[in-house]
């Protein structure tokens, strides 16, 4: 019996039992549905084995949306718990698990997945490439991320979730104070998905540097691709730090090493430093692609070229450098002395300068423009004031001396949500709506989209502005309940109402997807927004080879010039195209990684070794495999191009 006891959840509650039943029923429904409709073969051939960057992008997006709702369900429980004083809806341990998984899920498995989804789908199209540099590695990246996400998500029904905050500070996350396997899940799931992210980073740097269409110099590249390039450079330099930190943390927990202990010379602050050396650049890994998305959308719907292209690029480079020099501002109050605090305070505040430059560039882009208030543009417009409030309060927090007042309070929570939500979530929703027609061949309904926008924007303000007040009044973050005498009740109730507003907004987005799938017109042409960059020069839906003829670029607005000034993008005739074959190996390998992670969490070493052998077998198989791909001949190409043009 002992063997099975460790899989039990340490703090079971009716909500967790209900989730177990729900997960079981959903799994059964999926398996039964796939069998009944005979879709297993389709699923395997078209999705599980695909190496097409567009399909991988779509799978990332679906996973990100699922994770958004998982993290969102956590939020509703959290805000419901704190809505009234001395609430007993959740117990303290359950609350701890929920805020921890909310952070991990939203940052790692939602936001990261969403930016990689859009990068995957858009960047190869935007630079006129056929695919990414390493299509099979791309599939592996996705499946590693997916398996990492699933590993964390099963934690709350098998063995218990992590409960020491998404930062997982030691000694709190050590064995003594976190006795369940929750933190093991945290370490392993982040490790596995982080590996996938690192591979994505390498893949996209090579893609962007080497696979641009002829004529597209770096300084003629669209801004989203620029953002992608810099983001991936940050990924490659930041993620190995996390890899090491997680490995050390895992060893501390499972092999009794002394990295982060408080005895035998261990140093708990080392974890804090390593975590934030990765964690702070991570913030910019999320925000820079978002900036890139806004830099695509604002010019499109202002009918103006992007103002200050060069300063946009320079400011992104400066932000990426500074992002590695500010990590200590996450623990100003942990005793490193005035000089160190001053240095990191100054570098922190310096980031506001390039960011401010970007904000002004977007404003100047709109200046005298002919603005169309479409849904993507609404998100971009809503982003500017809300993000600025979040940013300015960030500068307040960046002042080391003042930080002693509001560190670890709800003020901080309000700050980073008001940066991340308009910065990342708005951008992702804007990008989703903007590129939706390219992905699926129809537009999302504008009217429902606008309703969703107002609920989300309003909900964000209502949920987080009150936290500035309660935070300055001294309400600590992560506090599971409080007494009535503190007077925090009213502000928390407002936050709860705001959270409900956000939830309604997200439900409207799902409804919009459903509604538009059923009723939207499929007859929208290739360029429904009258946009400016190369992804709109290909067909709708995008054929698997992206471009039948490689485009020739001669300006920053190549496609716009092609439309307005008669510049010719596609020269010459059809030539044979080489395409990579599908492969099941990335999926199978990631499944082995999942088993590896699960075995590790519960110290089941035979399982670990067996899955490790599986992983190595996959590597060897790949090494020996002769995969020459296949060719699409010029005649086939011409035929399918004629068909696609006829479909308009």
């Amino acid at each position: 019996m002992e063997f099975f006891e460790r899989f039990a959840v340490p703090h079971p509650s009716p909500a967790i039992y209900a989730s177990m039943v729900a997960i079981a029923l959903t799994s059964i429904a999926i398996v039964a549905g796939l069998t009944y409709f005979k879709k297993w073969g389709y699923l395997w051939r078209e999705w599980l084995t695909t190496v097409d960057h567009k399909k991988i992008g779509i799978m990332y997006m679906i996973s990100a949306l699922l994770m958004l709702f998982r993290g969102g369900a956590d939020v509703l429980m959290m805000r419901a718990q704190t809505a009234v004083p001395e609430n007993t809806l959740l117990d303290a341990q359950h609350y701890n698990e929920i805020f921890t998984t909310h952070g991990v899920v939203m940052i790692i498995f939602m936001a990261m997945a969403f930016i990689i989804a859009l990068m995957n789908f858009v960047i190869p199209l935007q630079i006129g490439a056929r695919d990414v540099a390493f299509p099979r590695l791309n599939a592996l990246s996705f499946w590693l991320y997916f398996m990492g996400a699933m590993l964390l998500n099963i934690s709350f029904v098998i063995g218990g979730s992590p409960s020491s905050g998404w930062t997982s500070y030691f000694p709190l996350a050590g064995n003594e104070l976190s006795q369940s396997v929750g933190t093991n899940y945290y370490m392993l799931s982040l490790q596995i998905s982080g590996l996938g992210t690192l591979i994505t980073g390498i893949n996209f740097i090579v893609t962007i540097l080497k696979m641009r269409a002829p004529g597209m110099t770096l300084m003629k590249m669209p801004m989203f691709s620029w953002a992608g390039l810099i983001t991936n450079v940050i990924i490659v330099f930041a993620f190995p730090v996390l890899t090491v930190a997680l490995a050390m943390g895992t060893m501390d927990r499972l092999f009794a090493t002394n990295f982060f202990t408080t005895t035998n010379g261990g140093m708990d602050m080392l974890w804090a430093n390593l975590f934030w050396v990765w964690g702070h650049p991570e913030v910019y890994i999320l925000i820079l692609p978002a900036f890139g998305i806004y830099s695509e959308i604002i010019p499109t719907f202002s009918r103006r070229n992007l103002y200050g292209y060069n300063t946009m690029v320079i400011s992104m480079v400066v932000i990426s450098l500074l992002s590695f020099l500010v990590w200590v501002h996450h623990f100003f109050t942990m005793g490193q002395g005035a000089l160190v605090n001053s240095i990191f305070s100054i570098t922190t505040m310096a980031i506001a300068v390039p960011t401010g430059i970007k904000i002004f560039n977007w404003l100047f882009t709109m200046w005298k423009g002919k603005i169309q208030f479409t849904v993507p543009m609404l998100y971009s417009l809503g982003f500017i004031p809300i993000f600025t409030i979040g940013g300015v309060t960030g500068v307040m927090l960046g002042m080391a001396s003042a930080d002693y007042q509001y560190h670890n309070t709800m003020f901080l929570v309000a700050h980073f949500h008001l940066v991340i939500i308009p910065g990342v979530v708005f951008a992702m929703l804007a990008g989703l709506t903007y590129w939706w027609p390219k992905m699926f061949g129809f537009m999302l309904n504008e009217r429902i989209g606008k309703w969703a926008f107002w609920f989300i924007a309003g909900g964000t303000c209502l949920a987080f502005f009150p936290m500035f007040i309660s935070g300055l009044d001294g309400q600590a973050r992560r506090m599971y309940t409080y007494s009535e005498a503190t007077g925090f009740g009213i502000w928390n109730m407002l936050s709860f109402i705001g959270a409900i507003g956000l939830a309604i907004g997200f439900i409207l987005i799902v409804y919009n997807i459903y509604y538009s799938t059923r009723y939207a017109s499929r007859d929208i042409g290739d360029d429904p927004w009258d946009a400016r960059s190369l992804e709109w020069a290909t067909h709708n839906p995008v054929p698997e080879y992206n471009f039948a003829i490689t485009p020739q670029v001669n300006s920053r607005q190549a496609f716009w010039d092609a439309k307005k000034n008669g510049h010719k993008l596609f020269k010459g005739g059809y030539k044979e195209i080489h395409m990579p074959n599908n492969s099941g190996v990335p999926f199978i390998m990631a499944v082995f990684f999942f088993i590896f992670g699960f075995g590790f969490v519960f110290s089941m070493w035979i399982t670990v070794i067996a899955s490790l052998i599986g992983i190595i077998a996959c590597l060897i198989h790949r090494s020996f495999e002769k995969d020459h791909g296949y060719h699409i001949s010029a005649e086939e190409l011409e035929k399918s191009e004629v068909e696609l043009r006829g479909a308009k």
Binding site: A133, F134, L198, G201, I202, N203, I205, V206, L209, K210, M211, V236, F237, A238, F239, P240, V241, T243, V244, A245, A247, M248, M251, F255, A256, T257, N258, F259, T261, T263, N264, G265, G266, M267, L270, L274, V277, H578, I616, I620, S623, F624, H628
Partner: protein, 198 residues
């Protein structure tokens, strides 16, 4: 497939060039990985708790052997790549095989060294210093182990398929990896052992 005859074999295909650039970027990530380990090492080096310090447990002889063996292997793999460039498959395979034998010798000495550390009471769990010491060395050792298996797979392919743009590309990338391990070892030798023994 387009093969550019003016380039060395490993660079002669488009995919080959992409692979090599991708691998250089991967080495960038590896630099960060080891840099993090070294930073952690320097942070924890004096935090020995009740355990021994570096100067008490380090022995110069096995470390010198390891250094000599690994540095030589970097040289032989360079000769191997040269042989590959002039199209001498047999010489290339011999030099790669010598490299792998030297790598195995390095690993053997390192395993002896680890056993010795555990024996003198400097096991993984003794103190923060021993934890980070064995983790840093172990990570490098794990890389060498992985390299051995990788190298054997490549040798088998070269034997079976000859020097093609693909096998040449793989061999060249493997040589980059091997040189990188050597560079890391130079840092370990200088800043872990020599500094620790001073």
């Amino acid at each position: 497939m387009n093969i550019d005859k003016t380039q060395p074999l490993e660079y002669s295909t488009e995919q080959g060039r992409l692979n090599i650039l991708g691998f250089w970027i991967f080495i960038g990530a590896e630099v960060m990985l080891f840099a993090t380990l070294f930073a952690s090492y320097f942070t924890l080096v004096d935090r020995t708790g009740n355990g021994p310090s570096g100067s008490e447990i380090f022995e110069i002889t096995p470390v010198l052997i390891e250094t000599l063996v690994l540095l030589t292997s970097s040289f032989t793999i360079g000769l191997g790549v040269h042989a590959m460039r002039i199209g001498n498959k047999k010489a290339m395979m011999s030099f790669f095989a010598i490299t792998l034998v030297l790598g195995a010798a390095f690993l053997g000495v390192e395993i002896y060294e680890f056993v010795h550390y555990v024996h003198v009471g400097a096991g993984l769990q003794v103190s923060a210093f021993t934890s980070i010491l064995l983790t840093t060395l172990g990570t490098h050792g794990l890389h060498v182990t992985f390299g051995l298996f990788w190298g054997i797979m490549i040798l088998m392919q070269v034997k079976k398929r000859g020097l093609t743009p693909q096998t040449a590309n793989k061999s060249f990338i493997f040589s980059l990896y091997w040189h990188f391990l050597d560079v890391v070892w130079i840092f370990i030798f200088s800043f872990v052992y020599l500094k620790g023994m001073m």
